[in-house]
Amino acid sequence: MSGKNEDLISCSVNGKTISVPKNTSAIKAFKIAEQDIAHYCYHPGLSVAGCCRLCMIEIEGNPRTQIACNTMVTEGMKINNQSKQIKEDVQWGLDFHLLNHPLDCPICDQAGECGLQDQYMKFGQYKPDMNQKKVKKAKVVSLGEKIVLDSERCILCSRCVRFTDEVSKTHELGIFNRGDKSEVGTFNGKELNNDYALNTVDICPVGALTSKDFRFKQRVWYLKKAEAICTGCSTGCSIYLDYNEEGFFRVRPKPNEDNNSYWMCDEGRDLYQHLNKEKRLVKVYPSKKVSTSNFAVSSSSSSSSSSSSSSSKKAIKYLKSELENIKDSTKIGVLVTGQYSVEDYKEFFSVLKEKNSINQIYHWFDQKNSKNDFDDLLIRGDKNPNTKGLLEVAKDMSLKVIDSSELKNTASNLEILIVLGPEYKKFFSTIDEKLEYFKQALQVFYFSSVKLDSLDSISNVTQIPLQSLVERGGTYINYKGLKQKLSILPQVIPKILSFSQIAKVLNGEKIQLEPLFLKTQPVKDNQFSFQKN
């Protein structure tokens, strides 16, 4: 093959000529050629099972139709799935899947993103030929704390079984019995509770496996998806956040070959809760040493407070005036976690460095896990999504990074301690130990987007709300240096300052607060205008 890459072979898919790497299955070739092909059991992250018989193709020169997921492409192969024969094959395959399938769509959480529904619209028989009663199986079976199984809806594609065998390697699931009595289930007494169990809910093409957490909360067609990253650990899995006007409802992994492939851990799926109103820090909690009137006094010196100025603006102005009173920069401590984005750090540190000549930061790293812990799949011991980014920014700005345990000795010298707090208490199991240091400092300003109840009892802490992860956006650098940028979503809670606004206030600049509350699409002007004749 002269002039051709040795590892590439060319083939034609539905008349479209493409070149694919050697050892590519026909179904992958369809994906590469961007041609539709029906399938259930094939999943790019799992081994091939070839049991759903839906991915039928015709190969030129071969009289019989065959499945695409278990056929390897060879040089010059001509594949197509457009013929009448294929359509009939898929129709009948689908009809067999539906023989015993219950009429559950109205109460099934999968409706709207269900493989059966999708394929039925294309290949449905619409006239059932079956005159036997359906085989009834177990419904609403709890498979542990997280997952509910409905055996009637299962089409026995075995994706979930292969997941527990090949990816999580926990082997809880199996397919039991034979024929139309076959059922998915767990082996005696076992529960499907591994750290990655909820991935089976994602890969189940039907509504047989549903997540207890998301069950019946929303219909999926009401949800919009946003791309983000999980901030549960330094892997920083790519995720989809599903949300609507009522809030955030679930987290799903977004396929990303460079990072998390098709999976994410179950812990990270709680991320959405921290973005909703209930768990958020919605207003300033002033420390008991300063009354709110202090904020007002300090702000009156600058511009007169307009109606849009929020209490958090006042609190930051107060922080600014307090910082100005301290001449010795060693009396100011800055304690940061790796939970914020590169842009956030840059903005925040540069103003502190410029105005208050700060030249060191305390790095708050959860002590319980060592940085190098890794479970060989995704979960890492470093529970911060952006430790690398933080250290990089500190190096660029030539700030000295001190471990936070040093605070034990230095906290009592500090007049002001500024904390960029941990966002998720679940991952920061040692939070409460750290809070002991806070009591020794004269004043603590705690920035966080999530409400931390244990702070309320400490009298010298002022809590200032931050925008949440997806409201701030920014770049996060994961354990291996992969940079991921977050998209910015509408604000859930109004009048919370962004990092750049905080930096501006600290810098003495004026800011304009926009009253943002779940920005909706601008309504188009009514274009219709009546014209006589």
Partner: protein, 171 residues
Amino acid sequence: MKVNRNIKTYFLLSTFSGMKFTFFKMLKNLFNKKKMITLNYPEEKYKYSSRFKGTHVLTVKKDGSLRCTACMLCATNCPAQCIKITADEHKDSSVEKYPISYEIDILRCVYCGFCEEACPVDAIRMGPEWQTPDKNGSKFNYDIRYLAYRPQLKGGVESSLDDKERHSWGI
């Protein structure tokens, strides 16, 4: 040409011709009450067909519990977006999903009947009641108690579709 146009657009003329029409209609109605086409509402009432599509009714099952499975198809189909449903898990696993709250903001409803059409289980119907005025500040957000069990319905309207029957048919 210009003068003509001005006369045409001179409002007073049309006003008078309108008043003339009204006046003769009034005289006609005064002397021939039977031929009058309007009703003296509320003293006189029109009798609509019993199939009139008025205020919604949520149907019930044989045991009197709500038929609705909280599938949200009505809420999805509603052009006025005035249906709000909160679903929850039912203790009885054969029911599985049911609404813990079902509200229709009746002031926003346009009585199109799309909800009725969308429902897969005959759980919502448009009933024959059409007089639903109320005082300022009263509750126009109809909830389950009103939609399914208001006194006029005498214990609830039974749905034509029962899950138990469906299961016994094997579908």
